[in-house]
């Protein structure tokens, strides 16, 4: 890396991962921060007085949602078009992330922002618009590509990034991934939450569930394949706390997105030469929040093995920052002459 360079030009490099549910930043001054992708503005003058702030982010925004207009502006990974408040929310969110990296006043910043793979040109432009106010120079890349770059998986590998709104697939073969090397499907973390919500509402009609509640159950106990132990939660039923077993529901919901993932992976790999296929199969990496699901690498390995023979599947070590770390690495490796043009 280039600490000398950095000191010389006094540039702060940052990598940003703009996610549906969580966004993170990694900076060359060694800060790493993450925030849930919620932005809230006080509903009225009184709420603003009570909260003592003009704008709230992340879990703080979610916690005060009754007195706020809350936006999750990157739903489906793109700035929802035509909704001005959403564009503003993205802008504020990025400003907030950059402030978390604590740049000194007047600091020159070069940023690389990772966005979901299927973001179209127009959205990348709007993301540029949102970021440019804060940085000196900027590039936008696809999120799974940033993850791959960060892991030095430049060639012969496949990234499966399981996020909230989308699962993004990306095959790396030594060049910038082309259109057909990337694919996005929409049954991801949010879909699991919806499934779990309906299973639980069905099984325990006496208890009221919310999507936020079931997401928390999932994030605490997610698994696929064999359950290590029973998963139980305590919930009020007619005023009394009752223990509910939710093991099977968690399993069913978490596994519900896997057939599409398996199918998509297999069909993407199948397009390559057999010799190359072997290499990719031995470098399948699962990233994103969904990669924290217990047993997911083993489950996928088992299914892939049946479909196309032996392979190696692993999960990234730090799903929260794999994307922003990759973007940061990309930013720091990027020749200076390129930055100057953008």
């Amino acid at each position: 890396m280039k600490p000398a360079d950095e000191a010389e030009n006094n540039i702060l490099y940052v990598g940003i991962d703009l996610g549906t549910s969580r966004s993170s930043i990694s900076a060359s001054n060694n800060t790493k921060e993450c925030v849930e992708s919620y932005v809230g503005w006080p509903r009225d003058f009184i709420s603003a007085r009570v909260l003592g702030k003009d704008i709230l982010f992340g879990s703080e925004a979610l916690g005060n949602r009754l007195s706020l207009d809350v936006y999750r502006p990157l739903e489906r990974g793109v700035i929802k078009e035509g909704i001005e408040r959403n564009e503003e929310a993205v802008k504020e969110l990025i400003g907030h992330l950059i402030s978390l990296a604590r740049p000194p006043k007047g600091q020159k910043i070069n940023a690389i922002v990772g966005v979901p793979a299927d973001t179209l040109k127009v959205n990348k432009l709007s993301i540029r618009k949102a970021v440019l106010g804060y940085v000196h120079s900027l590039m936008v890349v696809s999120e799974p590509f940033a993850v791959a770059y960060g892991l030095e998986l430049l060639n012969n590998s496949m990234i499966i990034d399981i996020g909230a709104g989308t699962v993004d697939f990306c095959i790396m073969h030594g060049a910038m991934p082309a259109e057909e090397d990337q694919k996005t499907i929409l049954t991801a973390g949010d879909y699991i939450d919806e499934q779990l919500f309906s299973y639980l509402s069905e099984k325990y009609p006496g208890s009221k569930f919310t999507l936020n509640m079931v997401r928390q159950f999932k994030e605490k106990s997610s698994f696929v394949g064999n359950a290590g132990h029973a998963i139980q939660v305590e919930l009020p039923v007619e005023g009394k706390l009752v223990t509910h077993d939710i093991t099977n529901e968690i399993k069913r919901a978490c596994e519900s997105i896997l057939p599409a993932i398996i199918d998509t992976t297999a069909s993407m790999i199948a397009r390559f030469d057999p010799e190359f296929q072997v290499k990719i199969k031995n470098n399948i990496v699962v990233a994103g929040g969904g990669s924290r699901t217990k047993g997911i690498a083993e489950y996928l390995h088992g299914s892939f093995k049946e479909l196309f023979g032996d392979c190696r599947v692993s999960c990234v070590e730090d799903p929260l920052f794999a994307g922003s770390d990759g973007s940061l690495k990309l930013a720091m490796d990027m020749p200076k002459k390129y930055w100057e043009q953008l």
């Binding site: 040109k121 030095e152 430049l154 199918d263």
Partner: protein
């Protein structure tokens, strides 16, 4: 996990860094390295790309109006295309086919068209980014315009725009309008096979695994609880509504399949099937759900980008519905 040592990786790394930079120039509309056609794989002007690829594949039949008119052999009732003729005149033009009953409005039929998905629910989407919700709405609007031109039908859409409408709200719209026919338009996705299939469903229990999977995808945004849903399935027998739905399904399927086969002989006929689609369950009139195309097939997606192809599909649907309504009066009357 690194499979390239720094040294061995330096060349691909340089190439990658350069291509990231170039793509970002392109996002800005700048053009670093001469003409774009040298780098088509990075170029994201999908509409342009689709045009080029269609040309390259030699698949230009959609531009050829002679072929196009030949493909319409299944369509019995003439339509107006872009030259919109006021409804009153159309009914006179087509007068041989209009009974007295219809002339005096007694037989006015209400057709509800349901463009699948919408708003926060995009449905499925293709590799180039085309979304199911946008195709279904566009085809539905075209179909509505075509049907209205006869001056004999009341036509409603369950959504007029890119908006989120829960499935039970859609069936409510159908019920309140006392519709005679309900048709829900969708686009299929078959991930592992590069094929184009056409299939039409009517409501009923199904044991077929693939069908159930499709049904659960299409039902994903329903506001019914699972309990309500099961109860409703059990209540259904082989009623008149079911028989009429089956008849409607077969007219639509035939029209779609035979016409599309005229354009592309590799299309597969998956026929008509029963499936527990929530949107068909809640309605009290003959209703079908039709998967008019298969967006996982890239060639098919490119065609869907063209107005001509979407217009064609609307026309085939129109022909199917009219064949159903005219060939033998439906025996079923919704209990209202």
């Amino acid at each position: 996990m690194a499979i390239f040592s720094k040294k061995r990786g330096s060349r691909p790394r340089r190439i990658i860094l350069k291509s990231v930079y170039e793509e970002n120039l392109r996002i800005l509309g700048k053009n670093p390295l001469g003409p774009r056609w040298k780098f088509p794989y990075l170029f994201k002007g999908y509409f342009f790309l689709s045009f080029i690829v269609l040309l390259v594949l030699g698949n230009v039949d959609y531009l050829d109006s002679r072929l196009f008119s030949e493909n319409k052999k299944e369509i019995h009732i003439s339509t107006q295309g872009e030259n919109f003729v006021p409804a009153e005149y159309i009914s006179l033009i087509n007068d041989k086919k209009i009974s007295m009953k219809q002339m005096f409005g007694l037989g006015v039929k209400t057709i509800v068209i349901d463009p699948g998905h919408g708003g926060s629910d995009p449905g499925t989407s293709g590799k180039l980014g085309l979304k199911e919700k946008d195709i279904t709405l566009d085809i539905a609007r075209r179909l509505k315009k075509k049907l209205l031109a006869y001056g004999q039908y009341k036509v409603l859409l369950t959504r007029e725009d890119d908006e989120t409408v829960p499935l039970n709200r859609r069936t409510e719209i159908a019920a309140r309008s006392k519709a005679d026919v309900f048709i829900s338009i969708h686009v299929n996705y078959v991930p592992s096979k590069p094929i184009n299939i056409i299939e039409t469903y009517y409501f009923g229990p199904s044991a077929d695994g693939d069908t159930l999977e499709l049904a659960s995808a299409e039902n994903a945004h329903s506001n019914y609880s699972l309990g309500e849903f099961k109860e409703m399935i059990e209540k259904i027998g082989d009623t008149l509504k079911l028989q009429e739905s089956r008849r409607l399904a077969s007219f639509i399927q035939d029209s779609l399949y035979l016409n599309i086969k005229g354009q592309n002989s590799s299309v597969l006929d998956y026929g008509i099937k029963r499936a527990p689609f929530v949107v068909l369950l809640g309605i009290d009139m003959p209703g079908v759900l039709t998967e008019v195309s298969c967006i996982s097939n890239k060639k098919e997606e490119l065609k869907l980008y063209t107005t001509r192809y979407r217009e064609d599909i609307a026309q085939y649907l129109e022909s199917g519905i009219l064949n159903y309504l005219k060939k033998g009066e439906p025996v079923y009357e919704a209990s209202r």
